[in-house]
């Protein structure tokens, strides 16, 4: 019942907040969003104590945690169920979602000053869909949530965004929707070619993995064609080069709290779906295509980092560096090793926290200075010492400072990929190339910090600048503590993740 409670609380909460007057909406939404945080914390605790060691939700559905399975409707010959549940992969992502939502809502108190009740209502509606995406185990249900995320996102960017918000919102919506179509085509080609009768993800996984003698078109097996279509569909969400160009526009136009959700959780939908569909259901194909996929990942890492180096807008820098960080996830996934796949999933969580932290910090600076441009300001450390201190800590987290979550994630991926059987003799070379990202990321973040935070104080906008409000800095501190906690004790998440991916990697229990 816990998952249902989560869904219900966010749904009702969204409704209540929408109807509430503007001046209380922010506080009310924050208060309501604490309930899912408390619930998921409790679930996390129960998971650690009771369910830790359960397998993959798709491959051993009997072991799913907090599962509910109710027949819902019939679509032709296919049964659709209300089917939810968690495993070691989805549990950390669910916790990430609820925590980031609360913090993003609090961080919105300062910048969002019109139509508040609608803004916070939409934020909660988005949380509802995100919870659904990470818990649903039936394709139909999952797809409803998957598409459902886009609708609040579209309005959040389109209404509260920057000057080019309409362009950015439509681009995001159309681009990812077209991608969903491609994915849908790829998936249903497999559904029609195999003998699945229910659209539950475990059933699909079983059927796809057992499928033999699939039709062959133009020399390619249907599994390969479906894999590529689904990969393209999900890669847009991740995003992976060259399907990434919606991301910087969306981030630059989106208000800070929305950027936090976009980078922190929405991108992870892409990698989560890749793991669930491409790398679980079509494991054999994924293994066969490992080297080209790893190359795609490595190119994303370097390309994203190089583009971040060229930017002047702090938000664009973080946006492009997300592309780079997500490239590591692809590399980790294709390794099919406990540390590679485990690290990739861990990176989803770690990057969610760190990029959220970065965007929020940039947001706090923007709220005070009204500019995000490197070069328009310098020496901020003099006027906002705590914010700058957290900025420096967050940036080092992003650069992969040990004992912070980012280092742990990237190290796991490197270690897992370095001798991955799927990559053969190209494994050390590709991994080493990807590792060069850690040099470039240090370059652009240190350079940006030098020019904005340090030196003599200068600000080219007409605003008074002083220390930020407590409710602006507190979410940053919370995120920073989480990043450090996961960096010092990664097994809080990695252990359950590794149990969940163990059936894929062939590792023992």
């Amino acid at each position: 019942m816990l998952v249902e409670t989560l869904l219900l609380v966010t749904l009702l909460g969204a409704g209540i907040v929408m109807l509430a007057p503007d001046r209380v909406a922010g506080k009310l939404a924050a208060g309501i969003s604490v309930i899912p945080v408390a619930l998921t914390s409790y679930m996390y605790y129960v998971f650690l104590t009771d369910y830790n060691g359960v397998g993959n939700a798709l491959l051993s559905p009997g072991e799913v945690a907090f599962g509910t399975q109710i027949p819902w409707l019939n679509l032709g010959e296919y049964t659709v169920q209300y089917y939810v549940g968690l495993d070691g992969v989805s549990m950390p992502l669910l916790a990430l979602t609820t925590i980031l939502t609360t913090l993003a809502i609090i961080s919105a108190w300062t910048p969002i000053d019109e139509r508040q009740s609608q803004f916070y209502g939409l934020m909660l509606l988005m949380e509802l869909s995100l919870i659904g995406v990470f818990t649903a185990l039936d394709f139909f249900l999952w797809f409803v949530f998957w598409e459902g995320v886009l609708i609040p996102m579209y309005f959040l960017i389109g209404i509260w965004g920057g000057p080019r918000r309409k362009y950015a919102a439509i681009k995001l919506f159309v681009y990812t929707n077209v991608a969903s179509l491609v994915m849908f085509a790829g998936l249903f080609a497999m559904v029609f070619a195999t003998d699945v009768t229910t659209l539950s993800l475990p059933a699909m996984a079983t059927a796809f993995r057992a499928a033999t003698e699939l039709p062959v078109y133009a020399g390619y097996s249907l599994a390969t064609i479906s894999f590529v279509l689904m990969f393209i569909g999900f890669a847009v969400k991740v995003p992976v080069f060259p399907l990434h160009t919606w991301l910087p526009d969306a981030h630059v136009e989106a208000p800070t709290p929305v950027s936090v959700m976009l980078a922190g959780v929405l991108l992870k939908m892409g990698t989560y779906a890749l793991l669930r569909f491409n790398f679980t259901m079509l494991e054999q194909t994924a293994r066969a295509l490992a080297v080209p996929l790893a190359i795609v990942g490595v190119v994303s890492v370097i390309y994203g980092a190089m583009l971040a180096l060229a930017q002047r807008d702090l938000k664009r820098i973080v946006a492009y560096s997300s592309i780079s960080s997500m490239g590591y996830v692809i590399l980790g996934l294709v390794a099919f090793t406990p540390l590679g796949m485990g690290g990739a999933t861990f990176q989803m969580v770690a990057h969610g926290l760190i990029s959220g932290l970065m965007f929020m910090t940039v947001g706090v600076i923007y709220n005070t200075t009204h500019t995000r441009m490197v070069g328009d300001m310098s020496g901020l450390a003099d006027r906002m010492p705590w914010t700058v201190g957290i900025f420096v800590a967050a940036a080092f987290g992003y650069m992969g400072l040990p004992l912070m979550a980012g280092f742990a994630a990237e190290f796991f991926i490197f270690q897992g990929a370095f001798n991955a059987a799927t990559l053969g003799s190209s494994a050390p070379v590709l991994t080493s190339l990807a590792m060069f990202g850690i040099v470039i990321v240090a370059g652009y973040l240190l350079w940006a910090m030098q020019r904005t935070l340090f030196g003599g104080f200068k600000l080219e906008t007409d605003y008074e600048i002083g220390p930020a409000a407590f409710h602006d800095v507190a979410p940053l501190a919370v995120l920073l503590l989480l990043v450090i906690a996961l960096g010092v004790a990664p097994d809080i998440s990695l252990d359950m993740i590794q149990h969940a991916v163990a059936p894929l990697t062939g590792g023992g229990a």
């Binding site: 060229a310 406990p338 270690q415 910090m449």
Partner: protein
């Protein structure tokens, strides 16, 4: 065992002082300095206790190698743990780091507080974290943990070099220090990942329980693979398609990337002179005991892994020898006190690398020890001068400070004699041993190793002359002759907190060489080469048999696997004396040349006589220029070009697709004209077309 269980406290105490200074420093007197002083003082005491235990004075002369924290248990993957390795090497290094850090904390009371500085909590927090990171690195029992603390050391250097962030110079220097060392760490990280992937462990030494090995160390596994051909525990060899020795050499050289970065060896030395932008006590800490020492210490820590690879040894020796000479030439023309010291640091770490590469394990550790003392002394002495000179660092504005600040002068002189390598000061003994080892192994080693060592030795020998010269050019310009400015005539006096640390280090710089007077020991037969014995271990039994980190073991590997031999054309005593005499004569010659050029009461600049060479030296061989060009002249424009490509081509295609659809949509919309007869026409045409199509496909015709 008692002391060993408290060893983690050595690391944790400075970490606690970091937290205390950061969060409560502004409410404490002197910005939390007291927390740092007491923490490092306590760490020093525990380190002494540990060292006594290792030596067998209060315990059983055993080593200690245990895991203390499981970072990642690993489900189906390798477990990643933190652990503590205590043997004579790490025990010695703990002493050095805690002692220097303790003295630097005390010195900072005088150096930092006299400036009305507002950032003191940040400063002492930084010092605490710096010390804690370095100590964590020193006790690390595996490569991953070492790497993690190595990176934290880098962070702290960034924070402290950029301490005065309101100016333009320090943030830039801090960025450069982190970025250049990060470039080296990139290779180090590949090495770490590669070693764990290859051996399944990053342990430096085996862990035993009840005498049985429960976890192997990677140097031991590598040794077995090469010596006994036991490759069943070695992965990766098929992946990379190399034989074990070649692959291990590659791994060793990758790790060496990090060493070259942190220990400021050519070509990644460029960050270090810029790092002088940081407060002077921080420079003392960075150069003597923490960051720069970390690189060399790492090579010594995993020496068993390098001792089986002649190629890696040759590279280390050549990089070290070349750096020693290369940096010394630049020190000759510098005008600022701290700049001279900066280049001398690079040069001296070059000697340590030279020693490690040429099989002089003890010599390297010895020089690391003596250098820590005399370089800390020189930096703190420079700090004292800088206080006195109102933060003017140009030596040409000084002069005659000898009589006005006697404590500083005499201690600084002690450090300078040590740096120049004048008998009997500390540097003489250690540098002499470095060169001696390089020489005899150069004369005796097989294959390409011998010539490589001799080349490196020649570099090192030439650098001795340079060192003597630039050191005493610095001493004469700063302290002798007539004061050349008003400030130098009436310098600010310094307090006990400056003189105290200087006196301690001044005495040590004169005497610490006595811990290993190897030449005297060999001549007289007296067993006074204590450091040698400290690191030697027994052939069987004791810590060396337990951990395989003793000199006995390394010498065996060097001789049998790497082919490092000994050649003494003048006999043992003759070669020894010739080598010592040669380096001493060169050092004294350098000193005398400096005296004749700069020893007068009104010295003048002689560097102009170098002509074009001076320009090259003042520009540091254009090393900075090309590295800055790599960043701003190559990488950044490339990034801009890629950005244009992204906006124009990649995003252009996306926008193009949408434009085409919009355009197409507008065109097709024209069909919807609203005229009924048009619709009827279209309808009819469509029907005809369909019928024709069906007809053709269905075969009606």
């Amino acid at each position: 065992m008692a002391a060993f269980t408290y060893a983690p406290a050595i690391v944790l105490l400075p970490f606690v002082s970091f937290l205390v200074a950061l969060f409560f420093g502004d409410r404490m007197p002197k910005g939390g300095a007291l927390a740092g002083i007491s923490a490092t003082g306590l760490s020093l005491l525990i380190s002494v206790w540990v060292a006594l235990d290792v030596a067998g004075f209060v315990g059983s002369a055993t080593g200690y190698n245990e895991f203390i924290y499981t970072w990642v248990a690993g489900v189906g993957s390798v477990a990643l743990r933190f652990g503590v390795l205590l043997d004579p090497l790490s025990a010695l290094m703990l002493l050095i780091v805690t002692l220097i850090s303790f003295l630097v904390h005390i010195f900072s009371l005088g150096y930092m507080n006299d400036e009305g500085e507002t950032g003191l909590p940040r400063y002492y927090a930084g010092l605490g974290l710096f010390t804690a990171s370095m100590l964590g690195f020193v006790v690390a029992n595996n490569l991953l943990m070492a790497f993690m603390f190595f990176e934290l050391v880098g962070l702290c250097s960034y924070l402290l070099i950029g301490f005065w962030f309101r100016e333009d110079g320090p943030p830039s220097a801090a960025k450069k220090a982190f970025l250049v060392t990060r470039f080296g760490d990139y290779f180090f990280l590949i090495g770490v990942v590669g070693i764990i992937a290859t051996f399944g462990t990053g342990l430096f030494a085996p862990i035993r329980e009840g005498g049985e090995v429960v976890a192997h160390g990677f140097p031991g596994l590598a040794e077995e693979a090469i010596v006994d051909g036991a490759t069943e525990h070695i992965a990766m060899l098929d992946t990379v398609g190399m034989d074990p020795q070649a692959w291990f050499t590659v791994l060793g050289l990758l790790v060496l990337g990090g060493v070259i970065g942190k220990s400021a060896q050519f070509p990644l030395h460029t960050w270090l002179p810029d790092a002088m932008e940081g407060p002077t006590p921080v420079s003392a800490l960075i150069h003597a005991a923490t960051m720069v020492a970390a690189g060399v210490y790492l090579v010594a820590r995993m020496y068993g892994f390098y001792a089986i690879s002649p190629t890696a040894l040759a590279v280390i020796a050549l990089v070290g020898g070349f750096t020693a000479l290369f940096a010394a030439t630049m020190a000759v023309v510098k005008q600022e006190l701290k700049q001279v010291l900066a280049y001398s640091t690079i040069s001296q770490y070059g000697y340590m690398m030279l020693a490690l590469g040429s099989g002089g394990y003890v010599a390297a550790v010895f020089h690391l020890t003596t250098h820590a003392v005399f370089k800390a002394l020189l930096f703190l002495g420079a700090g004292s001068v800088i206080i006195a000179m109102h933060h003017n660092e140009n030596m040409w504005d000084m002069g005659g400070l000898k009589d006005r600040m006697p404590v500083t002068y005499w201690t600084f002189l002690s450090g300078s004699l040590a740096l120049a390598g004048i008998v009997p000061f500390a540097g003489f003994w250690s540098k002499d041993e470095v060169l001696y080892e390089a020489l005899i192994h150069g004369l005796g080693s097989k294959g390409g190793l011998g010539p490589a060592y001799l080349i490196a030795y020649t570099f090192g020998l030439l650098a001795v002359f340079m060192t003597g010269f630039y050191t005493f050019r610095m001493v004469y310009l700063t302290f002798h002759g007539q004061p050349r400015t008003d400030i130098a005539r009436d310098p600010v006096s310094v307090g006990w907190n400056v003189k105290g640390p200087l006196s301690v280090l001044g005495v040590l710089a004169a005497t610490i060489g006595f811990i290993n007077m190897a030449p005297v020991a060999k001549l007289t037969g007296a067993h006074i080469d204590f450091l040698h014995k400290w690191l030697l271990g027994q052939e069987d039994g004791g810590w060396s048999a337990e951990l395989h980190t003793g000199l006995h073991h390394y010498e065996k590997l060097l001789k049998e696997v790497a082919g490092v031999g000994v050649g003494e054309p003048l006999g043992t005593i003759g070669t020894l004396l010739a080598s010592a005499a040669l380096s001493l004569v060169l050092a004294v010659a350098g000193l005398l040349l400096a005296r004749s050029l700069y020893g007068g009461s009104e010295p003048v600049e002689h560097t102009d006589k170098l002509g074009g060479a001076k320009t090259v030296l003042m520009h540091n061989y254009y090393q900075d220029e090309y590295q800055v060009w790599l960043a701003t002249g190559l990488t950044y424009p490339l990034a801009r070009a890629m950005d244009k490509f992204d906006q124009g081509v990649v995003d252009g295609v996306v926008n193009g697709v949408s434009s085409v659809s919009l355009f197409g949509g507008r065109r097709i919309r024209r069909i919807q004209s609203g005229v009924v007869s048009n619709y009827a026409t279209l309808l009819t045409l469509g029907l005809v077309l369909l019928l024709v199509a069906f007809g053709v496909v269905g075969g009606w015709f």
